[in-house]
């Protein structure tokens, strides 16, 4: 990993009243990363971001930015800038004045301020609106102002607090692409806080998933999706079939377990778990067939189709098997005729490869 630009060391934040918003969090963020803090609301991700910006002080622990301990550095002296969830674009200033604000207050010469404001406005394509007041602008435009205002300061780290949550769906997709492009162009570390997994998966190079104030897993988007380390992560990221199981026997490379509705199955897995575990399979890894599969190693279950939800490109099928086990299957509608090819009430076989199955001990 490249050199760390932000290092968090045992950072804890306890609010008056005893609520532990962030609980002993430690990790590094590398130079030029697009890092996402992902988690349900109230998980402490925004508090963590605000502590990096200096707007909140950690109760204990250390925050190092660019090699310097930030403990005694107030927010106005930190090499970070923030895009607020509400954008916080000053309503009494024009767009150009908003962008110039951060340079004026720190004594950047007027000539240079003018040039840099021009560049920043060009970067977010707002040059033609420089003289407007924020109340005459749309949410998307105000967000661009907030972005330009932060980037014009050339921070080492740009902090974005739920930057897309206030935009409508179409604009959100556009801004998602634009933010990733912007990050590549300016070469600044971005830390984004979001509760939207699609946002995190599609934009970030690495994601820290948080829950109840603690970091649950830090990984790249594909690792997070394909190799979650706990039931919480598997369930939180994407859709998943979680099945309770009991370990019967295990060797160095595989385990045999007794899974609800599936009976005894053999799965490849290193480590030797014992007792209760969960197995997880993503719906798109499951196949539907009219007859039992022929390949010897596949895991299979017979069941009855309970629901078919049509989404155009895919259909989401729910199949009820033995022991009330319900499996969600995503079927690609890759032929114009026929859709998912199954109907409610139909008897079908579900099968999948053992190596597509995850064994979760936590």
């Amino acid at each position: 990993m490249a050199e760390a630009i932000v290092s968090l060391r045992n950072v804890t934040k306890t609010f008056p009243g005893g609520v532990k918003a962030v609980d002993d969090v430690s990790f590094d963020i590398a130079q030029n990363e697009f890092f996402a803090l992902l988690g349900p609301s109230g998980c402490g991700k925004t508090t963590l971001l605000r502590m990096i910006s200096g707007l909140e002080t950690p109760t204990s622990g250390q925050i190092v930015i660019g090699g310097e301990d930030m403990a005694l550095t107030p927010p106005n002296k930190r090499p970070t800038n923030m895009v607020f969830q509400s954008y916080a674009v000053f309503p009494h200033m024009t767009v150009a004045d908003n962008v110039a604000y951060g340079l004026k207050v720190t004594g950047v010469p007027a000539e240079e301020t003018k040039r840099r404001v021009g560049e920043a406005l060009e970067m977010v394509k707002l040059t033609h609106l420089a003289a407007r007041k924020p109340d005459q602008m749309s949410g998307g435009q105000r967000q661009r102002v907030a972005l330009a205002r932060a980037l014009v300061k050339r921070p080492k780290v740009l902090l974005l607090d739920e930057p897309l949550s206030a935009l409508d769906a179409k604009l959100r997709d556009e801004m998602r692409l634009e933010l990733t492009r912007l990050q590549e162009n300016v070469g600044i570390t971005f830390i984004i806080v979001t509760h939207d997994q699609d946002e995190a998966l599609s934009m970030a190079s690495r994601i820290a998933v948080m829950d109840k104030g603690a970091v649950q897993q830090i990984a790249t988007p594909s690792e997070l999706y394909e190799q979650p380390t706990s039931r919480f992560i598997a369930d939180f990221i994407g859709k998943v079939n979680l099945i309770n199981a009991k370990v019967v026997s295990s060797t160095a490379k595989k385990i045999v377990c007794d899974a609800k509705g599936l009976g005894k199955i053999e799965l490849p897995h290193t480590g030797s778990p014992t007792g209760d575990i969960a197995i997880a399979i993503r719906p798109e890894k499951l196949k539907i067939a009219g007859s039992p599969p022929k390949a010897a190693k596949t895991i299979a279950a017979e069941g009855k189709v309970r629901d078919v939800a049509y989404y155009g490109d895919t259909s989401h099928v729910v199949v009820r098997c033995k022991d009330d086990l319900e499996l969600a299957v995503n079927v690609q509608n890759d032929k114009r005729a026929g859709g998912s090819g199954v109907e409610r009430g139909q008897k079908v076989w579900i099968h999948w490869a053992p190596e597509d199955t995850l064994v979760l001990t936590e």
Binding site: S53, G54, L55, P74, P75, N76, K77, T80, N81, M82, F84, Q85, S86, A88, F90, P91, H92, Y101, G102, V105, T106, K133, P134, D135, R149, A150, K153
Partner: protein
């Protein structure tokens, strides 16, 4: 809800008591005074409408102009002190822990529950030559000081009486102010002082202007405070008007002065409207 235009009959039904009240107890008496201001005194108790401008001409006599001018500057100074004292108070209440806020606001409003006359006498008891303050100062070998019956005492009294009118609108505006504006300013490198003057102050201007209007206008017309604390030479226009209606029994001249005072007030309100239209984007 429907616009009142869409439902005229309901509107008038609901509005009638208010209209009646305003008409009988405000507009008609005011019209009477307006007529009086263009009248002549014909006997000790009677006036006759003659359409004369004599009362207004008399009001522009240097004696009265000086008093009007003095009323304006005393009110202005009192308003300025109110603002300087009330802003930190309002700010402090807004940023106080939530459970303290109601109590702190109550402390601001509490003096309203006590009669103005009693409060003014209490002020006199504290500040007179043999008062409590001079007593305490005497213990440390200072004074006694003559603190009452001058312009300073009037200003102090006005600040004391009208302070809540400044604190409350300021509190309402600061409370509504989105904290993320202040945080954004700090985050962008602004110091606390810069943040205050470039962000907080402009964004709370609506509250400041409302507070100034709410304090300045009643200060201008006040007569009890200057009468009790000001002595003979700290007289304000309110005292002159009161004297015309009572001691001098000169309704026409009193009415003319009253209307002049009202025009000054209109001027202050027009000034507010002007600033409001200039600072678009920040609703005043």
């Amino acid at each position: 809800m429907d616009s009142w235009r869409g439902n005229l009959r309901v509107f008038w039904t609901l509005f009638t008591p208010g209209t009646f009240w305003l008409l009988v107890f405000f507009l008609i008496p005011l019209a009477g005074l307006f007529q009086d201001s263009f009248s002549d005194k014909i006997s000790i108790t009677e006036t006759a409408f003659t359409g004369t401008f004599a009362n207004y001409v008399r009001a522009f006599d240097t004696v009265y102009l000086t008093i009007i001018w003095k009323s304006i500057w005393i009110s202005a100074v009192a308003t300025a002190f109110c603002l300087l004292l009330a802003y930190p108070i309002a700010f402090g209440i807004c940023f106080a822990p939530a459970r303290w806020k109601p109590l702190l606001l109550l402390l601001v409003i509490l003096p309203f529950w006590i009669n103005l006359l009693i409060r003014t006498y209490a002020l006199i008891a504290v500040f007179r030559s043999q008062g409590y303050l001079n007593l305490v100062l005497g213990w440390i070998g200072l004074g006694p000081f003559e603190m009452l019956y001058n312009n300073g005492a009037v200003i102090m009294g006005l600040v004391y009486v009208y302070m809540p009118f400044m604190v409350l609108p300021l509190y309402a505006t600061i409370e509504r102010l989105d904290r993320s504006f202040l945080e954004a300013s700090l985050d962008l490198g602004g110091s606390q002082v810069q943040t205050f003057f470039k962000v907080t102050l402009p964004l709370t201007m609506p509250g400041i202007i409302t507070g100034i209007i709410l304090v300045f206008i009643p200060c201008l017309g006040s007569f009890l405070t200057p009468d009790m604390l000001g002595g003979a030479n700290a007289i304000m226009i309110g005292n002159v008007i009161e004297r015309q209606f009572k001691a001098a029994n000169d309704y026409p001249f009193g009415s003319a002065l009253s209307f002049l005072l009202m025009y000054v007030t209109f001027g202050a309100l027009a000034l507010r409207a002007y600033f409001a239209s200039r600072s678009k984007g920040v609703d005043v």
